[in-house]
């Protein structure tokens, strides 16, 4: 494993992108590594693409943002366009190849995912360019392109709200820099109260994580690269 791994995650406002980044980094820190997470923010219109930058390293980390990512996760069509700039020939590019997940508007939060409208100045950066179709735009220069049907699986097998846990699981598997256990610990400390109140939630989230690991496993295996 490289000493420093750089991950860019992008998606729609409601997809829980920031939670993925945050938990990843927190787990890295938990393991005694240097970890740095920074969201993109600005004066924003809702519905802009939300971007999270995560770096985990054995050593001190340089600038909080970077130009090229080791792993890019794109969770919507617009996210694909927005993340092209971070892709190099060494990038592992992960995208959701099921339909784009509609975030649900409801009052009770199941996973960490929610319809999280944020105030304008805390909003992730928007993309003003018009996006055509994700397929057309998928990066041609990446080292590997991996499609994960996270949305479909979440809806079919688990619950739409844990979509981002699947993604988190997949990312952890791909990055291989933190232990799944630590992720679970981090989740536990974030959602501990909710988990105690409703133990089903814990099961649901942890299953989703596991599902993500498996999906990534399969994907990597299918591409015959592991």
């Amino acid at each position: 494993m490289a000493k420093l791994i750089k991950i860019a995650i992008a998606g729609e406002g409601g997809q829980g992108v920031q939670s993925i980044g945050d938990i990843l980094a927190e787990a890295g820190n938990e393991e005694g590594k240097e970890a740095l997470y920074i969201p993109n923010f600005g004066i924003e219109q809702r519905g802009g693409v939300s971007l999270a930058f995560v770096q985990i390293s054995e050593e001190q980390i340089g600038s909080p943002k970077f130009e090229s990512a080791d792993i890019v996760i794109a969770l919507s069509e617009r996210a694909v366009a927005r993340t092209l700039q971070y892709v190099t020939k060494d990038t592992l590019y992960v995208y959701d190849n099921s339909l784009i997940a509609p975030p649900e508007v409801a009052d009770e939060v199941i996973g960490l995912q929610a319809y999280d409208t944020v105030a304008p100045e805390a909003q992730a950066g928007k993309i003003s360019r018009q996006v055509k179709s994700a397929q057309e735009e998928l990066p041609k220069n990446a080292k590997r392109l991996i499609g994960i049907p996270a949305t479909a699986i979440a809806q079919k097998e688990l619950h739409p709200r844990v979509f981002n846990m699947i993604i988190l699981g997949a990312t952890v598997r791909a990055a291989g820099i933190v232990e799944m256990q630590t992720i679970e610990k981090a989740l536990e400390s974030k959602l501990g109260k909710k988990f105690t109140d409703n133990p089903k939630l814990r099961v649901l989230n942890f299953s989703a994580l596991q599902k993500g690991v498996e999906l990534m496993d399969t994907a990597l295996r299918e591409e015959g690269k592991v």
Binding site: I43, E44, R46, D107, T117, V118, A119, P120, E121, A122
Partner: protein, 251 residues
Amino acid sequence: MVERLAMPKSWRLDSKPHKFCPGCGHGMVLKVLGEVIDELAIQEKLIFGVDIGCSLLAWDFFDVDTVQTHHGRTNPVMVGIKRARPELLCIAYMGDGGAYAIGSQHLVNVAFRNEKIMAIVVNNCNYGMTGGQMSPTTLPGQKTETSPYGRDAKETGSPTLGPEMVAAIASPGAYVARGSVTNLKQLKKFMKKAVENQLAGNGFSFLEVISCCPTNWRTNAKQTWAFMEEEMGRYFKTGELLTAEKDEGHS
């Protein structure tokens, strides 16, 4: 495909859907304003000034010349334009923070001087743009990012009553009212009268609007309406506080 649906003609299509959050009161206020612009046919001579605050998201909202200014400084910029070009109509559009906190010296002095501009204050009981801090109009007990245990009126005072203050210091010719997005017909009536007051050159026109910020309030639609109607309604009474005495003989 359709062009405007229910949008006023003065709304600029290119910037729609607009940049406000789902369920934001700013959208309702600006719809009412758009209708008034259309009905009074003032699009050509209107200068719209937006403050820093969520109002800045309206910087390209209308097909109307628009200046986005600094936080709290929209009143003086509009005063400057109006005095330079009295034939223009100037509307300063701002939040409760911009109007009653950082820009309050401008507001009270604009009122003292009876400047012939119009000011709209969208009162959402918090600093929306910056993520929901306490504002001068935050209700007692209301939780915000800087009053996490609820606003303590003893320590931080009672909610600012803007129109009441302006009415207390305004000169003859001024128009002062408070409307609410919970009563859009009344709001439109006030908005129209306020604009007409400037058209007539009577004096300062001031309109506060009870509005909502579901994002920072963390309310769903039902709670949003309830907070405005009940909680805010208790403190902030709608109605006209001052109307120009002299005849409004405009076109």
